[in-house]
């Protein structure tokens, strides 16, 4: 075999090898990005589900009448997002006391545990959402995956729609770079 033909054939083999491995990688990346996008959407819904689930648990434990559910949701939202600081659950207690004065004092411990567990669980779900978003965005931006991802038309979802829930106070603190000290006692 003459040298030119041999070298040409060699290059062709290398191109074929990289072609096979490359096409497999592109298919793999496409499927991975689709899985990650679906995972993000599912996690976002799971966060809503988690939030709803703990509201129900709290309502059940506190035996607050159903007609006050929407109001309870607002107070609970404030408690789990830490809007009232370290003693945030006090507002929820106050609300429950007003709407169900017959609640046994011992039930308060259970309510406190539900609120804290709800906060921890919601935080874990928000962290998962952030982590999934981080993984997805890293995949989209890392070379050489970014070239392939752009070619395949990713992202196919609006990533801004999948932000975590924060309170106005948190957003203000991060915008102004100033945070008020936690008030343990009401003035």
């Amino acid at each position: 075999m003459n040298t030119g033909l041999k070298i040409g054939l060699g290059f062709l083999l290398v191109v074929a090898l990289f072609g096979v491995v490359g096409v497999s990688s592109v298919i793999g990346l496409n499927n991975e990005l689709v899985t990650q996008e679906r995972g993000l959407v599912a996690q976002y819904k799971q966060n809503q589900n988690n939030y709803d689930n703990y509201i129900k648990k709290l309502q059940e434990a506190a035996q607050v009448p159903t007609m006050y559910t929407d109001d309870l949701k607002k107070v609970y939202a404030a408690a789990i997002s830490g809007r009232y600081g370290a003693n945030g659950s006090q507002a929820t207690f106050q609300f429950i006391k007003e709407h169900n004065p017959n609640v046994d004092a011992t039930v308060y411990t259970k309510i406190q545990q539900i609120i804290e567990a709800g906060r921890n669980s919601f935080e874990a779900d928000q962290k998962t959402l952030l982590d999934k978003k981080r993984v997805y965005e890293t995949e989209l931006q890392q070379f050489p995956g970014n070239v392939v991802a752009t070619f395949l038309g990713f992202p196919k979802i609006k990533l801004a729609d999948f932000d975590i829930v924060t309170s106005t106070e948190t957003e203000t603190a991060f915008q102004t770079k100033k945070s008020a000290p936690v008030q343990l006692r009401a003035k």
Binding site: S25, Q113, I114, D131
Partner: protein, 361 residues
């Protein structure tokens, strides 16, 4: 993609041999070199991924059965050798395989988690009953280590791992308790600067608790007792143990000089957060390091509230599991040595008899 990058150097070297290797380096040899290197680099890429995510958890259950089992003899030797002729000026020796005994005896122990182990024989054939096998009790706790894929371990940047906390406590962070001894026993009380009364009994209680709940709740309960440590110690330990194994419940209790409980925290991957809050509050309420009350609370809370989080929930991290800088360097250097070594070997050796055929053409 990782495999493509790993193949770059070997392929360039191969092309170098093909271009500058002359007639000795044929396209056939080039194909062989390319094939072998692709296979080897694929194995290395898989091995690196496995190394980064492989982890060990502890499975717990009870001894469910013990049995004396007759098995085929394991002690073979060559025997009845005869020399036979294989032609003119040729002879060979043919032997048979004989066994020392007509059978051997295994002293087996079975567990409720589906495993089987054998107690060491006290005689070669195993006919004599080992006293350790005699001491095995049906229903006693049984633990064994089990490998699994830990996506969190392989993803240093995940939000589920703390960063930069261990430095402050580097001399006070204990190793993870995974050492199974005496066939199926495991101690799970870990103390850090704290003197605990009767640690043997603590470990026994933990073994019994895990025996009862381990299989049912898929749990491995561990107790860590520290003395006069700040709250942040817990997060440093969490970082050090990478959040614990997927079935772990690690109850961390800090006590003061008078054995009064200072703080309590629970490490574990459960999705049911009420478990951690309720257990923490209960232990905190006990007030002092009372073994019986702590074990009862741990038992009841695991039984009622613990729900193991499947590792599949973290599968989304698999795309982020990449080789470390050291592993990249290893793969690249290995690829270079392999391609150069193979290239020189193939150039110097006429493995397909191409040179001979060419000469006689």
């Amino acid at each position: 993609m990782i495999l493509l990058v790993m193949l770059l150097i070997p392929v360039l070297v191969d092309l170098g041999f093909l271009i500058f290797g002359g007639k000795q380096f044929s396209i056939k040899k080039f194909l062989v070199e390319l094939g072998v290197q692709t296979a080897v680099m694929a194995i290395i890429a898989y091995g690196i991924s496995w190394q980064n995510t492989s982890d060990t958890e502890v499975w717990n259950g009870k001894v469910s059965k013990k049995a004396r089992e007759v098995v085929s003899c394991e002690h073979s030797y060559t025997c009845n050798c005869v020399t036979v002729s294989c032609g003119k000026d040729c002879s060979t020796t043919i032997c048979q395989t004989c066994y020392e005994h007509s059978y051997d005896v295994d002293w087996a122990v079975y567990s409720s988690i589906g495993s089987r182990l054998t107690i060491d024989r006290v005689s070669r054939q195993g006919v004599a009953k080992p006293s350790r096998w005699d001491a095995v009790e049906i229903g006693e706790s049984f633990s064994e280590t089990h490998g699994y894929t830990n996506y969190i371990k392989g993803s240093p940047d995940t939000l589920f791992r703390h960063q930069g906390l261990t430095e402050r406590f580097k001399d006070k962070l204990p190793g993870y308790p995974r050492q199974v001894y005496d066939y199926y026993k495991l101690d799970r009380l870990v103390t850090v600067g704290a003197a605990v009364d009767d640690p043997k009994q603590w470990n026994l209680d933990l073994m019994n608790l895990n025996a009862e709940l381990g299989h049912w709740k898929q749990v491995n309960a561990i107790v860590v007792v520290t003395k006069n440590q700040p709250d942040e110690y817990f997060y440093a330990l969490e970082q050090h143990w990478i959040g614990g194994k997927k079935n772990d419940v690690v109850l961390v209790i800090d006590i003061d000089d008078a054995n009064k409980i200072d703080w309590v925290n629970i490490m574990g991957w459960t999705d049911n957060k009420i478990f951690q809050v309720a257990l923490r509050d209960e232990i905190q309420q006990i007030g002092v390091l009372n073994r019986d009350l702590i074990m009862k609370s741990l038992h009841d809370n695991i039984a009622h509230n613990f729900l193991r989080k499947p590792m599949k929930d973290f599968e989304y991290l698999s795309g982020m599991i990449k080789p470390t800088t050291g592993q990249w360097i290893f793969a690249m250097v290995f690829g270079l040595i392999l391609s150069v070594g193979m290239g020189i070997f193939l150039e110097k050796n006429d493995i397909f008899d191409e040179e001979t055929k060419r000469r006689y053409r």
